[in-house]
Symmetry: C2
Subunit: 261 residues, 2 copies
């Protein structure tokens, strides 16, 4: 029923008072970590309903309020989604609302209704030994294999984004250009269902560049068109690097939108 070991901080008293372990951490943090481990282990998959707060409280032998605080934080980090009256679900990139959380390029004129899905064209998908910079980014050895995917995204027929995507070979075994082309879902949704990988967090570094010859061809622009270069590192649970992506955006009629809070 309850295979989980007793929590470090629980000393048997009402408010978990008394002597605490040397490296103290609040109970709700420990609960959070346990839930995270269940997510990572695939006990609950993207889209799944997880146990109710009371069930989790019983399983972990803490009060419902403590579970609540742990789940609250995981929900704020977009790992879980709460739905009043229904329950708490594992968040997924398949949902419409979360679709554009990682794509920050927006049309200058939203009325143009061009927020619709982009047309996608896979240029190629190869398996090769990791170049040194790729290995470094993905925490791999240069002897390890990686997949390299290149693609172009177009909006209303205008080629707008060129992407060069690097993925760990071991995790994405069996990835092909054909599979990528045929799947109509967002790429990250396919990663979830086909490879059990959920991208949780990312970091982007932006700069302005002039295009290489390749990019000129792919985006149909001249060599003196300034472009936005977006280097993205994506992480799965526990901050494991899982994707390195170099994007080049044409920003003639679009812009990268960022909220500072």
């Amino acid at each position: 029923m309850s295979p989980t070991p007793p929590l470090e901080n629980a000393a048997g008293q009402t408010a978990h008072a008394g002597l605490v372990s040397p490296s103290f951490s609040p109970l709700y943090q420990q609960i959070k970590e346990l839930v995270l481990q269940s997510l990572q282990a695939g006990e609950w998959k993207p889209g799944d309903l997880i146990p109710s707060e009371f069930e989790l409280a019983a399983r972990f032998k803490v009060s419902q309020g403590t579970v609540r605080k742990a789940v609250d934080e995981l929900a704020k980090e977009h790992l879980l989604v709460r739905r009043q009256g229904k329950g708490t679900f594992v968040s997924t990139h398949s949902e419409q609302q979360v679709q554009f959380r990682f794509l920050k390029l927006k049309p200058d004129n939203p009325a143009a209704a061009s927020q619709g899905p982009a047309q996608r064209h896979i240029i190629d998908c190869h398996r090769l030994r990791a170049p040194s910079d790729v290995a470094r980014a993905l925490s791999l050895r240069t002897s390890d294999m990686v997949y390299r995917v290149r693609r172009v995204l177009s909006f209303e027929g205008v080629p707008t984004i060129f992407e060069d995507i690097w993925l760990p070979g071991a995790t994405f075994k069996g990835l092909t250009a054909e599979r990528l082309s045929k799947d109509t879902r967002p790429m990250y949704a396919m990663f979830e269902s086909d490879f059990g990988i959920r991208m949780v967090r990312a970091q982007e570094r932006l700069r302005a560049i002039l295009p290489s010859e390749d990019v000129c061809d792919f985006l149909k622009v001249s060599t003196n068109t300034p472009l936005l270069r977006v280097e993205r590192m994506s992480f799965t649970y526990h901050d494991s690097p899982m994707e390195w992506r170099i994007g080049v955006y044409l920003t003639e009629n679009r812009h990268y939108l960022n909220e500072l809070n």
Copy 2:
């Protein structure tokens, strides 16, 4: 003692049960709004210590836990800062830690220690009638006055950022190039102490451009150097627009860093 009117949701029962007002909102949201109003009214100024949770609970006639939830959210939005053992303070742009919350341009090589403060050079500061695009951005009339500030930021002697800043004339009355030049604090810190305006939130739109002739001069670059254009709208309490800023960044040795959560 307590000049605040009774809260809408309080029906006198234990858990504020019973009939609630038509447009229901949780108690902690109402508390949050009341605190926000005190901040906006200047009752507590940036850097000030605000009343303790128990005092606020007494003032608003709710439990400490409800105040706690309200303050928690305001702290997450960076309007307040909690310090265990000391109290809760109104957040300010003067603090070192929050200094770079709005400047996302980081050195490519952090070891270069070039994270230090930028050298600032004010080009000019004028008062004029708002051009139509500025008026629109700041929710003003074209008959209203605005200040326009232009400046260059340099890192290690290299001119890197050119900024064109527009501010509402009524609020920033008395702003001069001299005052801007002499003040060594961050610009937003001066806005707090001298004009009672605290920037709370901002929105940035990025694109790649080639520089105008002006910018070529200011940044000492050629006309074919791609630059990052950063258009920022800044807001004070209650989402009032307070600043419109066009920045142009040289990204040869630096990049715009963004976290996606």
